[in-house]
């Protein structure tokens, strides 16, 4: 079953951070929405654990928006 933006956002709500997930736009780079490099580490860890997937460092340049993450997770076997 494929994941959705809503599911991804629900996962990100588990992170204890100052980012308001409801305000995150789907197709705007997260770095342009106030997420710094340490926020991204929390986000990656949260999604890796939430979806039991490995997000390699080599994939990161392609993962800039929430939509990118949805596509990446749905492509994983």
């Amino acid at each position: 079953m494929e994941t959705t933006l809503t599911e991804i956002k629900n996962n990100l709500r588990k992170i204890d951070w100052e980012i308001n997930v409801d305000y995150l736009k789907d197709d705007t780079p997260l770095s342009e929405q106030g997420l710094d490099s340490l926020d991204m580490m929390d986000l990656l860890l949260c999604l890796e654990e939430g979806y039991a997937v490995k997000i390699p460092d080599t994939a990161l340049p392609r993962l800039r928006t929430l939509n990118d993450f949805v596509a990446f997770i749905n492509k994983k076997p």
Partner: protein, 306 residues
């Protein structure tokens, strides 16, 4: 009964401000203060080497707590950035401070977990040999190996040294201890061609995935509850890391030490630098210390006030 009688530290006066490097690294003041938790890093003089930092820490120690040099039976230096590959830095410190020939000297090659490991090792060595006074130094000046343009490390690590006087008149004794290593991930934090490399994401993941669980297991094994611990002193990796551990372990943040804004992550010296201040507080009856990092390794211990 052996333990820590006193701790002294030396932090070089020279500083580099992270606020002055905001543009270079594309960061803002909020990131520096609230996430990194390091406003300035301490940097040793170019003419000073690792052993000189130890000598300076020792000079601070004897000002606070005079000890006849003839009484010192063992010197241990925890470092991965020694003066040279050989001899061991403890021998150089021994020579510079003119300690007695009967004094044993050896180094321990560990990073951020080194102080906790070192405490256990020097105490065991002293007990085995019937010694009553020893010095445990930590000094790992990363300025020797940092690439000043590497955002992952240049803003974070500072230089310092600390020395703990281990004696039979302790103020704190090490009660319980545990260790661990995930050697398969050693490449995530290592020195390559004399330059420090750190995969920040991998080290962060290692910390938040492993350290809380190991602390929980350690506490349970030793019959300890959070309320039994007066102070938690984690390796001062960064504010983000210490905050993450505090949240993951659901600790009262007022019990968790954090104080590296003015000098940075000093590797194996980060715990003794904090401990030096915390030892003065007599209400700190039980202190949990936890070092983690290079290896990737960790060590967790309980210090009990005598």
């Amino acid at each position: 009964m052996l333990g820590i009688e006193e701790i002294a530290s030396y932090v070089p006066t020279k500083r580099i401000s992270n606020l002055d490097r905001k543009e270079q690294f594309d960061i803002d003041a909020s990131f520096i203060n609230d996430k990194l938790g390091v406003r300035r890093i301490a940097v040793k003089d170019d003419t000073d080497d690792t052993s000189d930092l130890c000598v300076s820490a020792y000079e601070k120690l004897i000002k606070k707590h005079p000890i006849p040099k003839k009484d010192i039976e063992v010197i241990v230096v925890v470092t991965q950035n020694p003066d040279t590959n050989l001899p061991h830095s403890s021998a150089i410190v021994h020579g510079k401070l003119d300690f007695p020939e009967s004094c044993a000297c050896f180094d321990i090659s560990l990073g951020c977990s080194g102080f906790v490991y070192g405490l256990d090792i020097i105490q065991a060595f002293m007990e085995k040999n019937g010694f009553t006074k020893g010095l445990l130094f930590t000094a790992d000046p990363y300025s020797k190996i940092i690439d000043k343009n590497d955002k992952n490390t240049a803003l974070l690590f500072g230089d310092a040294a600390a020395v703990a006087l281990i004696s039979d008149k302790p103020l704190y004794v090490l009660e319980n201890i545990t260790f661990g290593t995930i050697g398969k991930d050693y490449k995530e934090l290592m020195c390559v061609k004399n330059k420090l490399y750190m995969n920040g994401r991998a080290v962060y993941n290692f910390t938040v995935k492993n350290i809380p669980d190991n602390i929980r297991v350690f506490m349970k094994k030793n019959g300890l509850l959070d309320k039994d611990i007066d102070r938690f002193i984690f390796h001062q990796g960064s504010k983000h890391i210490v905050d993450a551990l505090t949240k993951e372990l659901k600790l009262d943040s007022r019990k968790v030490a954090y104080d590296i804004y003015e000098y940075g992550n000093t590797v194996s010296s980060s715990i003794p630098l904090i401990l030096e201040k915390e030892m003065k507080n007599s209400s700190n009856e039980k202190i949990l210390i936890c070092g983690f990092g290079v290896g990737l390794s960790w060590s967790i211990g309980i210090l009990k006030r005598v």
